[in-house]
């Protein structure tokens, strides 16, 4: 592992940097959203859910694109053919793409929930709560992805 890292060609560095910056901001955006959305379960649902929704839209979603573009760029440079792909790469692809779909679903549900709460007369929104649970699952999936990408299990 250390040998592989030490002999990485220089032109792989920028795509890798882009991928890691995107992934770190994605996890950071999800952490921000999850904290706000979970706080909204017990108090001031409309306010906290709106903040959580904004963290998903303005941080997590753009960061997902940065992470995914960086991932595809470094993949193209590593020269995998599809036959010789290691297991950790499959975990990375699965969590990145499935996580992206779930992230989008979480944004839609949370957004609809925020809209319901904004109309007034409601203390809580089931849609916002489902969106929160999905955001937690996406965050957990990306922690698994961090393990797979850094530890590179066979």
């Amino acid at each position: 592992m250390s040998l592989v890292v030490s002999i990485r060609p220089d032109d792989w560095n920028f795509p890798l940097l882009l991928h890691i910056v995107g992934a770190a901001l994605l996890v950071g955006g999800l952490v921000t959203a999850v904290i706000a959305l979970l706080l909204g379960w017990n108090r001031e649902s409309a306010w906290y859910s709106r903040l959580g929704f904004r963290a998903l839209v303005f941080i997590a979603l753009p960061a997902w694109f940065v992470m995914r573009i960086g991932a595809q760029w470094i993949y193209s440079k590593e020269g995998f053919t599809g036959d010789d792909e290691p297991g950790w790469l499959g975990i990375g692809y699965l969590t990145a793409d499935l996580g992206g779909i779930l992230l989008l679903l979480s944004i839609i549900l949370t957004g609809l929930g925020v809209r319901q709460l904004g109309r007034g007369g409601r203390e809580t929104s089931v849609l916002a709560r489902i969106g929160s649970v999905i955001a937690v699952l996406v965050l957990l999936a990306y922690i698994v992805a961090v393990w797979a990408m850094s530890g590179k299990p066979d």
């Binding site: 592992m1 250390s2 040998l3 890292v5 030490s6 220089d10 560095n13 890798l16 940097l17 890691i20 910056v21 992934a23 770190a24 901001l25 996890v27 950071g28 955006g29 952490v31 921000t32 904290i35 706000a36 706080l39 001031e44 306010w47 906290y48 903040l51 904004r54 963290a55 941080i59 922690i143 961090v146 393990w147 990408m149 850094s150 530890g151 590179k152 299990p153 066979d154």
Partner: protein, 160 residues
């Protein structure tokens, strides 16, 4: 997975914790910038609270596992130039981040005190000044830039 791989995972995981804490802090700092009512600022501080735990895990974890990795790996040494650069940047990030965070901690205490006195809904000039403190903002910018530079240093490994 070998021992080195677990160390690398823990190093990266704690680095993600640190960046996550910074994202939470920046999100709160930007969103609460024009807030002057204690009750409203307390909502933001509740979001920042779990990030206080993450920043400690991230700051200590990156250092401990990073140095451990440098000792464990045959290819690297703790005295390598890029490792020393990372350690210097870590000191800058931790020092400025801690100082910048103090202002917000004081603002949180002030907001809690005002709310406790029944003045939670009344605008407070003192609270607004602390939340818009330029020195604290610059210290946090320097701290975040140092973290970004550590990441660049870790990937490019100048001199390795």
């Amino acid at each position: 997975m070998e021992f080195y791989d677990w160390l690398l995972f823990l190093h990266v995981f704690t680095a993600f914790s640190l960046v996550s804490a910074l994202v939470v802090f920046w999100f709160v700092a930007v969103a609460a910038r024009n807030v002057d009512r204690p009750v409203e600022s307390l909502r933001f501080f509740r979001i920042a609270k779990p990030a206080n735990v993450l920043v400690v895990i991230g700051t200590i974890g990156t250092l401990v596992f990073g140095v451990w990795l440098a000792i464990d790996a045959d290819a690297y040494h703790p005295w390598d130039g890029w490792v020393l650069i990372a350690l210097a940047l870590w000191l800058v990030a931790a020092g400025t981040g801690q100082r910048g965070g103090q202002t917000y901690a004081e603002a949180a205490k002030l907001a809690a005190r005002l709310d406790g006195e029944g003045r939670g809904d009344q605008p407070s000039e003192e609270l607004r000044v602390r939340l818009q403190d330029r020195r604290a903002m610059w210290l946090n910018i320097i701290s975040s830039l140092a973290v970004v530079l550590i990441l660049v240093d870790m990937i490019y490994k100048p001199g390795a």
